[in-house]
């Protein structure tokens, strides 16, 4: 695990948590940033009685200062194990995903949050799934088990099962996939994950968006096994690139109201760059 740089992140929205941690939450507590004053009868914390507010009150009620409790959160990585994730182009896509998970497991547990991994293809894969844990060792072991898997699923419908397994409390979810999904599934997945703070990490390959200008290209789909022959020429190359751009626009549109904007990871993951994007307000 040498050379791993912490991946920093800032959750969006109010997280409810019982554990004190590093992130802003909706919990109120005794330390942190001042939040408001509450009547003692509602928040009976004798140590935080606000004497000035109590004296100023014409009705003689006692007030207590409340603070925003900083809390730890649950971070989940939802890893797509469908066949398209096994694509080896300029980079080994699945390797990139596993390395990213390992970096997340390390960084998340270091900052005191809990880390869990759900992997899915047509359904949830139990072998390499672990609920959120604060143990770095367990989290890294889970990532290692994930690395032993071979992506060969023929669909990614399991993302809906994973979303259901996450529960209703808000979590930070890294949706790690190449998002080569049919559009209805994309929509369903973003809908199902909308209670959570979702950061779609889109793994793309530089080869995918750089088709050759001339030549005969025999293609095979990694998931369905479908075949297609393309007689490449400049017009078709242009259409290919336009289709790729349209896909990105579509992904941005689908995610715009339900999650963060998709973060594209081309060929290799740069933790610094990723941190900047994840901590942006």
């Amino acid at each position: 695990m040498n050379g791993i740089v912490d991946i920093l992140y800032r959750p969006r929205g109010r997280f409810a948590a019982n554990h004190v941690g590093a992130h802003v939450s909706s919990e109120v507590g005794g330390i942190g940033v001042f939040r408001d004053q509450a009547p003692f009868m509602r928040y009976p914390d004798a140590r935080r009685i606000d004497i000035r507010a109590t004296l100023r009150d014409p009705f003689g009620a006692t007030y207590v200062r409340r603070f925003e409790q900083r809390a730890s959160i649950d971070v989940y990585a939802l890893v797509d194990l469908s066949g398209s994730m096994g694509f080896v182009g300029a980079a080994n896509r699945f390797r990139v995903a596993v390395d990213l998970c390992a970096a997340l497991a390390y960084s998340v547990t270091r900052v005191g949050d809990r880390f869990g991994v759900f992997s899915y293809e047509g359904a949830l894969i139990d072998r390499s799934t672990i609920p959120a844990t604060r143990s770095r060792r367990a989290a890294l072991a889970a990532v290692e088990r994930l690395g032993a898997e071979t992506p060969r699923g023929s669909s990614a419908k399991g993302v809906l099962d994973a979303a259901a397994a996450l529960g209703a409390t808000r979590k930070l979810v890294f949706l790690i996939s190449d998002f080569r999904w049919p559009e209805p599934l994309l929509e369903q997945a973003f809908d199902a994950l909308s209670p959570h703070d979702v950061a779609p990490l889109v793994l793309i390959d530089s080869l995918e968006s750089a088709p050759p200008k001339w030549g005969v290209l025999a293609l095979r789909d990694s998931e369905s096994g479908g075949r297609r022959l393309l007689v490449m020429r400049p017009a078709l190359q242009r259409r290919w690139i336009e289709a790729e751009q349209a896909r990105r626009r579509n992904l941005a549109r689908l995610s715009s109201l339900r999650s963060r904007a998709p973060i594209y990871i081309e060929d290799s993951c740069d933790p610094v760059d990723l941190s900047i994007r994840l901590t942006a307000a």
Binding site: S84, M85, F87, V88, G89, A90, R93, D178, R180, P182, D205, L207, E208, A210, P211, P212, W214, G215, V216, L217, A218, L219, R220, D221, S222, E223, S224, G226, R227, R228, L229, L230, V231, M232, L236, R239, W240, A243, E244, R247
Partner: protein, 333 residues
């Protein structure tokens, strides 16, 4: 239509192999995450179909070519105007001389060359005749059988001015000429055109055989006698009464022909112009509708099959050369 046949039918047992291109692509495939990223393209769909078809044709046509297909030959019935004529040409040594009896020099032409020139013109004028060519010297030679292929006949006539040799054996030449006619076509107008510059003695036994043969085949006989200047003519009566066939073979041959009982005419010519005149007369005499059967050769189709396979293979090679993958060096596996 004619029956289709194969020389090596066993090659066709491998024909199911031709379906393999439908199951597998000839091109090395590139795996991509999803075909959703590759735009659909109608031209490519057509190309894909062509390549599949090309693969099937390349294998199928090769096997078909190896099987050696052919269309069996047939017998075609044809109609012609004229007659069946066998030219029986003397190739003895004396034909090398001119009509004046000398070795040709300068612009003079030999009897054989004159005969060739005149006969060619005769053949060209009668394009619908069926003409066969035979030659004789000591032994008879079949040059071309009776046919309506003018080119073959002309080529045969072209060959008769090669220097001749040996003696004049008319009896065997006539026997061969008669044997060239088919007995089943006895209703046709048929003629033997004998071109010689001398006569030979026919011994009595052969005389009887020839006489019987002529009667049976009912063939007209035209004798074009190229008389050398100063030699004896057909009708020249010799001084003595007790002349022998050896002394005046021309006259005795003429007498023998007259005794055959078939239409017969002799033309005694001493110059090329007279020869043409004689041929014109023959031309007028022999004009009747003729029906005959010609055997067509079988048509070999394996060359076309191999050509088709070559075209299909070339198409596949072009596709293979144009094959690319994603990325710089073939890209994705």
């Amino acid at each position: 239509m004619n029956a289709l046949g194969f020389d090596h039918i066993e090659a066709l047992f491998l024909a199911p192999l031709a379906l393999i291109p439908l199951l597998r692509s000839v091109l090395r495939e590139t795996t991509i995450p999803s075909l959703l990223s590759a735009p659909a393209d109608s031209l490519s769909a057509v190309a894909r179909g062509c390549l599949k078809l090309g693969g099937v044709i390349a294998i199928g046509a090769s096997l078909l070519g190896a099987a050696g297909p052919y269309v069996a030959g047939t017998e075609a019935e044809r109609f012609a105007e004229g007659a069946q004529i066998v030219m029986l040409i003397d190739r003895s040594g004396s034909m090398n001389e001119t009509l004046a009896g000398r070795t040709p020099s300068g612009s003079e032409e030999s009897k054989a060359a004159a005969a060739k020139r005149i006969l060619k013109r005769f053949v060209e004028a009668r394009r619908h005749d069926l003409i066969g060519v035979a030659a004789f010297s000591t032994a008879p030679m079949l040059v071309t059988p009776i046919t309506d292929h003018i080119d073959a006949t002309e080529a045969a006539i072209d060959a008769i001015d090669r220097p001749g040799l040996d003696y004049t054996n008319i009896a065997r030449g006539l026997a061969m000429a008669l044997s060239m006619f088919k007995t089943s076509e006895a209703d046709l107008s048929r003629a033997v055109l004998l071109i010689s510059d001398g006569a030979g003695v026919i011994d009595p036994k052969q005389r009887d055989d020839l006489k019987a043969e002529f009667r049976k085949t009912n063939v007209s006989l035209y004798w074009l006698f190229l008389r050398t200047e100063g030699s004896r003519g057909i009708s020249d009566q010799s001084a003595g009464d007790d002349e022998s066939p050896q002394a005046a073979p021309e006259r005795h041959l003429d007498l023998f022909f007259r005794s055959l009982g078939v239409p017969y005419r002799a033309f005694e010519v001493e110059s090329a112009e007279a020869t043409e005149e004689a041929l014109k007369q023959i031309d007028r005499l022999e004009r009747h509708p003729v029906r005959y059967v010609e055997t067509m050769p079988r048509t070999d189709l394996s060359a076309s099959a191999f050509a088709l396979a070559l075209v299909a293979t070339a198409l596949l090679i072009v596709a293979k050369l144009a094959e690319v993958g994603l990325g710089v060096n073939g890209g994705a596996r």
